[in-house]
């Protein structure tokens, strides 16, 4: 592909809710959003893939547990294995964990309630497909909205994740303090988002697609999407 406008596929599963929002965010940030359907086995030549938020297949079994078996996921997994940029947001993050692309799992918030709130995130690494344009230590504001967003991992996984610097974002104060007071859901080590070792696969619970348009919310999602578009373009060129 020689196009200078990166094409970003957004998968719609039955029960996806923020798929239109993710497509709009891609378009607003200068990319070209491409709608992908769960039952298709074709990624339509996109340069990056987003698994959006929602309640895929109703999430009646376990969040993301069914979606990982969707026909489109076979292509998504092999796209990621080839190094393609892949972002899972909220339910999409849960799908990536279920698919084994990212470590850990999500359980119910420690309050046992759904929480919709703007939160601050501290950037932990620039080595990921959505933080290339950010500096570790800086903070960004993005909303969360989930009932099962408490990230957990086995002790062994946790050691690996922290040792290898796989944490991309932690819940924090506006000034970057990471503590229990600024942990909305009880996530282990305040983890809000993680990456794979290569950095091309990232999952996060907060919703950057709801943080690109200043008329309707904070703008902390803008640098994430511009980084993703940048990574997509680099992948497409390479």
């Amino acid at each position: 592909m020689t196009s200078t406008v990166p094409r970003v596929g957004v998968v719609t599963f039955p029960g996806s809710l923020d798929d239109r929002d993710a497509r709009r965010a891609v378009d607003q940030m200068g990319g070209e959003a491409v709608a992908l359907w769960h039952a298709d086995r074709d990624l339509r030549g996109v340069d990056a893939v987003v698994l959006p938020g929602g309640f895929s297949y109703g999430d009646y079994l376990r969040c993301g547990a069914i979606a990982r078996f969707a026909p489109v996921m076979e292509q998504v997994v092999s796209f990621a294995e080839r190094g393609g940029p892949l972002l899972g947001i909220c339910n999409g993050f849960q799908v990536l964990c279920e698919a084994g692309l990212l470590p850990g799992a999500m359980i119910r918030n420690h309050s046992l309630r759904f929480i919709c709130r703007d939160v601050w995130l501290r950037v932990e690494t620039a080595q990921s497909c959505i933080t290339g344009g950010l500096t570790p230590g800086e903070t960004i504001e993005i909303p969360i909205k989930h009932g099962e967003g408490q990230w957990i991992a086995t002790p062994e996984q946790l050691v690996d994740v922290e040792r290898d610097g796989l944490v991309v974002f932690r819940y924090a104060s506006r000034t970057g303090i990471v503590d229990d007071d600024h942990n909305p859901n009880g996530a282990t080590n305040n983890v809000a988002g993680i990456r794979n070792a290569a950095g091309n696969v990232v999952g996060l619970m907060p919703h950057p697609e709801h943080a690109v348009d200043p008329d309707v919310g904070p703008t902390g999602g803008q640098p994430l999407f511009s980084s993703l578009l940048h990574a997509a373009l680099a992948g497409a060129a390479g």
């Binding site: 039955p14 029960g15 809710l17 923020d18 929602g54 309640f55 309630r113 759904f114 009932g147 008329d215």
Partner: protein, 735 residues
């Protein structure tokens, strides 16, 4: 007890007179299935038999009205070919028995009403009333209802952007659980449930969930009778919701509408298949032949009357020309939804129901849908001459005011409802310009600059003292809430929540409230495009207060000019518009500080109120105001504190005038708002107020960390915020 004491029609909620009327229509004795069908269709919930003659007095016409009452939802034209569809419904009775599912299925039902009009649902608002949180059952009801609203609403991709939560003793036995949904459609694509081009031979396709034994007779058993002891036994009449199926239903329906595949569309809610089939047929001026064997069932062995009256959720009925059946099935298949052709429109006006090849019911379709009984029930004002007790306005009062302010600020009616609103997804669809912490939510219409300003309001404390006044105040406050954002109030939907209409005093409350809505809506040019009536909200001898809930739709031509309710920055001048009188009757101060709901509600001059709305819209258009907040519960001081807490900026003001201090702070005089304005715009603001004949007075400035009312109050905003935000969690024992 012998069957003569409890004949079937009475068990089903039909009166002896109604049975006579059915026999006259049929010219014979109805069989058991037919009785079941009439009982649900002629129930209070479906037929509005007690309220109909009074509802007819409401103004329903206006230049912007596209669809008035009588359809699934009302619709208004907001310009550029865009229609806004909106309606409010109640699910109070089911919620009193099973709060989570009751509230959840209430959301599902109203969303299908909007979809059935051909509109994409874009916003939900949930006005709720409960008994005091000091009682465990009320805490359980609140947690269950809020959980159900979130559990369902958050899974269907429609943001919950507002609503209100109020508390009163009278709602202990009967919580009020209303829900409003707003949708957006191409005006040209609007589907009225009157089948557009339906003709003989058109097919009725049931799609979505299968039909089970849940919600049998929900409208007649639950919603049209009082809840007495042993109401838990009615649990099988509460429906069970599946939001995932609803989400698929929404997407499939909107795809079918956009493709022009349908001749008509109807949701299945109260009274299930009976209602959907008979109404669709009656509106097309036809009959229908319905085959119950074609209905996909959840379990074998269901009786015909169960299939006919089941209120299983997440089902829709499409009217489809036979040539389009294939494409309808293809779309539903793609979304994983089952389809079944269950009926066919016929030239004869009868609704003929078959099961196992034999006719099990045969009645005129229109007799179910349109010929229900209409009652002019006796009404009597209460014997008490509005025995409102001593007016609290004139009670001597000399307590230290800081503590009193804190009491009112943390009163459950006034305190932050963040505990509940954070459990709702207010963001999905990406158009929420202002959410539940604003006087009115503002949702932009995707792809345009238009903003829909939405508010739901009730004033049942005033309504208890004077139902007419309570209704006028409810309409005025909802219009004001919309107006402070800069929007022009456009149209109204209403949910009338009352006790048992067979009691003349309740009927009087109902008619007085309708009279109040009529007067206010006429004065504001806000026609009533639809709504819902919820009666029998009483248990034993405790009826809820007269509680008309008003859902107001306002329009901003440019959502970017929306005026926030909080002080956005320091260094602004603070003004109050409108006049403050000695009016503490029915106020929050009287209830939470003096412990009485007594006196005379504040006066309300509709022309002054209207002038305020026009002034606020003009000020917003001229970008003169930095913030505007309604003065409501708790009066001027609470309005100031809320604006300070929300914005995170303190203020210093001085109150002029000769009212006693507590009256000046807490009076709930109508038609007022607190504004902040950049010093450079002060002259323009004052000039604009004079132009509109609205009294305006400068109170002070924003800035600093403290809330300071000269000589009366001096408290850090951070302390106020903590008290205000944590009051509800503290009552729930969570902090």
């Amino acid at each position: 007890m012998s069957p003569e004491d409890h004949p079937l029609h009475r068990q089903l909620g039909l009166t002896d007179d109604e049975l006579v009327k059915i026999e006259a229509t049929l010219g014979r004795t109805p069989n058991r299935n037919e009785l079941a069908m009439y009982s649900v269709m002629w129930s209070e919930h479906c037929s509005y038999k007690s309220s109909k003659i009074h509802l007819r007095t409401l103004p329903t016409d206006g230049p912007a009205v596209l669809v008035g009452p009588g359809q699934d939802a009302g619709a208004v034209d907001v310009g550029d070919g865009i229609a806004v569809v909106f309606k409010i419904e109640s699910h109070s009775h089911p919620s009193a028995i099973e709060p989570y599912q009751g509230a959840a299925t209430g959301v599902g039902g109203i969303v299908r009403d909007i979809v059935a009009m051909g509109a994409r649902p874009v916003a939900l608002l949930d006005p709720l009333l409960f008994g005091p949180l000091t009682e465990e059952r009320n805490r359980w009801l609140l947690a269950g209802v809020v959980g159900g609203i979130g559990g369902y609403g958050n899974c269907i991709g429609v943001p919950t952007v507002g609503g209100e939560i109020r508390f009163a003793d009278a709602h202990t036995a009967n919580p009020t659980v209303d829900v409003m949904c707003v949708g957006v459609a191409d005006a040209a694509d609007l589907i009225t449930s009157q089948a557009r081009s339906a003709q003989q031979g058109s097919l009725m396709v049931l799609y979505g969930a299968s039909t089970g034994r849940d919600g049998i007779g929900g409208v007649s058993v639950l919603a049209s009778a009082t809840l007495d002891d042993g109401a838990e036994g009615a649990r099988p009449s509460v429906q069970i919701g599946d939001p995932f199926a609803e989400k698929l239903l929404i997407e499939a329906s909107l795809e079918l509408i956009a493709a022009g595949s349908l001749e008509g569309l109807q949701d299945l809610g109260g009274a299930g298949i009976t209602c959907a089939v008979s109404e669709s047929a009656a509106r097309a001026g036809m009959g229908a032949s319905l085959d119950l064997d074609a209905v996909p069932l959840r379990e074998p062995g269901m009786e015909p009357f169960e299939i006919l009256t089941s209120e299983s959720q997440e089902r829709m009925l499409a009217i489809v020309h036979p040539s389009k059946l294939g494409e309808v099935r293809a779309v539903c298949d793609r979304w994983g939804l089952t389809t079944a052709v269950i009926a066919e429109l016929t030239q004869e006006r009868g609704l003929t129901v078959r099961s196992g090849g034999t006719v099990v019911a045969d009645v005129p379709a229109s007799s179910l849908a349109d010929d229900g009984p209409v009652y002019d029930r006796p009404l009597t004002p209460p014997a008490r001459e509005l025995a409102n007790g001593e007016d609290p306005t004139f009670a001597p009062f000399d307590k230290e005011l800081t503590g009193v302010v804190m009491t009112v600020l943390t009163a459950p009616n006034v305190a932050s409802k963040r505990w509940a609103f954070e459990q709702y997804d207010r963001l999905v669809q990406g158009n929420t310009v202002a959410g539940p912490d604003s006087d009115a939510a503002v949702v932009r219409v995707a792809g345009t600059l238009k903003g829909l300003a939405l508010s739901t309001d009730s004033k049942s404390r005033f309504g208890r003292l004077d139902p007419f006044s309570g209704a006028v105040h409810a309409v005025a406050e909802s219009a004001r809430n919309v107006a402070v954002t800069g929007a022009v109030p456009l149209a109204v939907t209403n949910c009338l929540n009352f006790g048992n209409p067979e009691r003349p005093e309740v009927m009087w409350q109902l008619t007085e409230s309708i009279r109040g809505i009529r007067e206010a809506c006429l004065a504001f040019d806000t026609p009533v495009t639809g709504g819902n009536v919820s009666l029998y909200n009483e248990s034993g001898d405790s009826a809820i207060w007269p509680t008309p809930v008003i859902g107001m739709l306002g329009l901003l031509d440019d959502y970017r000019l929306r005026v926030p309710s909080s002080f956005p920055r320091p260094g602004l001048a603070i003004y109050i518009v409108g006049e403050t009188f000695a009016e503490l009757g029915g106020s929050e101060f009287a209830e939470s500080v003096l412990g009485v709901v007594a006196g005379k509600p504040p006066a309300l001059d509709l022309s002054k109120e209207r002038a305020l709305h026009r002034f606020l819209a003009a000020a917003a258009r001229g970008t003169v105001t930095a913030s505007a907040h309604d003065c409501g519960d708790g009066g001027l001081v609470i309005a100031l504190l809320e604006a300070a807490i929300g914005g995170g900026h303190g203020f210093a003001v001085a109150l002029a005038g000769d009212l006693p201090s507590h009256v000046a702070l807490f009076s709930e005089s109508a038609s007022r708002a607190v504004l902040s304005v950049d010093p450079a715009d002060e002259d323009a603001l004052v000039g604009l107020a004079a132009e509109h004949g609205v009294p305006i007075a400068r109170l002070g400035e924003t800035g600093g960390p403290r809330a300071l009312v000269e000589g009366l109050l001096d408290v850090p905003v951070a302390e106020l915020r903590d008290a205000w935000e944590n009051a509800i969690p503290r009552l729930l024992g969570e902090t």
